[in-house]
């Protein structure tokens, strides 16, 4: 009668220990800060894309594998949304301290007509010298953007400096394997972004 209890209880105990271990290791969302962005689960492999870096060299998204990559689609004439987001990303990276070295922020221009890769790089460097700015031809950029749920479109209504470009302001976070893991809406604070990046770094 008692003989079956021990293996059953033993295996349940093991299950319990594994569960507790998983919680302790941060695999389960128990006892940890809620993620502010939206988690893609399971992480979504995205097709690799070749874009152009400053200096005209071909850069692939897979070049950044091993780091957590925060991708932002913006442009240098962008009046408000882009500078706000890039400044928040820069502060979030600083807040991570040493662990911030494992985070790579990449801005891909949605206005390649005016933003050469050099201009894009120079622009993002002003926010943080480690940020990378990428450009390329518009068809290639649109392909990458569309697949990540990002749309952009040149607007006819102009500002003083010419035209504006409407674009999705979401930040996309790839995990160390280069898979899409997290989407951050526009408007998160630097602290919230830092929390979310910390979570992806732990994965």
């Amino acid at each position: 009668m008692r003989r079956w209890i021990i293996p059953v209880a033993g295996s349940l105990l093991i299950l319990l220990l594994v569960g507790a271990g998983a919680v302790a290791a941060g695999w389960l969302p128990v006892g940890r800060d809620t993620v502010h962005g939206s988690v893609i689960d399971p992480p979504l492999p995205i097709p690799d894309a070749t874009l152009t870096g400053a200096g005209g060299d071909a850069r692939q998204l897979s070049d950044f594998r091993g780091k957590v990559v925060a991708i932002y689609f913006g442009y240098t004439y962008c009046p408000d949304v882009c500078p706000t987001t890039l400044a928040a990303l820069a502060r979030a990276k600083q807040a991570l301290g040493k662990r911030g070295d494992d985070v790579q922020v990449v801005m891909i221009t949605v206005d390649p007509e005016r933003d050469t890769p050099e201009i894009t790089q120079e622009y993002v460097s002003r926010f943080d010298p480690t940020f990378v700015g990428l450009g390329g031809d518009v068809a290639r950029i649109r392909q990458v953007a569309t697949g990540m749920g990002v749309y952009f479109e040149k607007q006819q209504r102009g500002s003083a400096g010419g035209y504006l470009v409407d674009h999705t302001a979401t930040v996309l976070v790839l995990d160390r394997n280069g898979d899409l893991r997290l989407m951050l809406p526009y408007g998160l604070t630097a602290e919230q972004i830092a929390d979310d990046l910390r979570w992806v770094l732990k994965q």
């Binding site: 105990l13 299950l15 689960d41 569309t146 697949g147 749920g149």
Partner: protein, 219 residues
């Protein structure tokens, strides 16, 4: 002996909780499949319709071309039934939109889209018909929504009739690919996504995120 009793009751409690979670499914979620593509289309009134306009709303998409013979009518009929069921319910939060995308922009002008919308009984506030620049349709519909279509030499299309449900984040939560599913099932799925969007706050969010980890609780 008392200690052993305590241990066994602890194990019993944990077991009951696990079994209850698996059996009663107090929280159900749809998986987060992939980001839906970003797009800028033109609708039946000639208005811009972008993926950003739909942020914060739950959207059911279907894909077609208007000169399609009868088989296409089946997904349109499902869309119509979903619209009807949603109209009968009290206004949902977040709002739900239906979008029919034509992958034949050369022939499907806004006027043709408007005629098709009227024929389908579409309520313009809820259900819009749209198409976009010809060179972008393959990127949006084919690569983005993962819907196969190909033009035949006679101008008709071969394609996989598909409906796609996208949440307010722009993330695909359900794909219906094998024949048109019953409207009932889609409306239930919409409810699940809406409930999650409404209730997934504070401590409840932890429970929802935990549920996403258990495959057995997915629908």
């Amino acid at each position: 002996m008392a200690r052993a009793g305590l241990l066994y009751s602890a194990i019993l409690v944990v077991t009951v909780v696990i079994v209850a979670l698996a059996a009663f499914r107090p929280i159900r979620v749809l998986p987060r499949i992939a980001p839906a593509p970003g797009f800028a289309l033109t609708d039946q009134e000639g208005q811009r319709l972008t993926s950003e306009d739909l942020r914060g709303k739950i959207v059911l998409y279907d894909f077609t071309y208007l000169s399609c013979p009868s088989p296409c009518a089946r997904t349109t009929e499902v869309m119509r039934q979903v619209q009807e069921r949603l109209a009968r319910e009290p206004a949902a939060e977040p709002e739900v939109r239906l979008i029919t995308i034509s992958f034949d922009p050369e022939r499907d002008s806004p006027a043709a889209l408007r005629a098709a919308a009227e024929a389908a009984g579409a309520d313009p506030a809820r259900w819009r018909f749209a198409t976009g620049a010809p060179e972008l349709m393959k990127l949006i519909v084919g690569a983005g929504f993962n819907v196969f279509y190909e033009r035949n030499p006679d101008g008709s299309f071969r394609f996989d009739p598909t409906l796609v449900l996208v949440d307010g984040w722009g993330i695909v939560r359900a794909e219906y690919r094998v024949g048109p599913p019953p409207a009932e099932q889609i409306v239930n799925d919409i409810r699940l996504v809406a409930n999650e969007a409404r209730r997934s706050r504070g401590p409840a969010r932890l429970a929802y995120e935990a549920t996403h980890l258990f495959v057995c609780n997915v629908r």
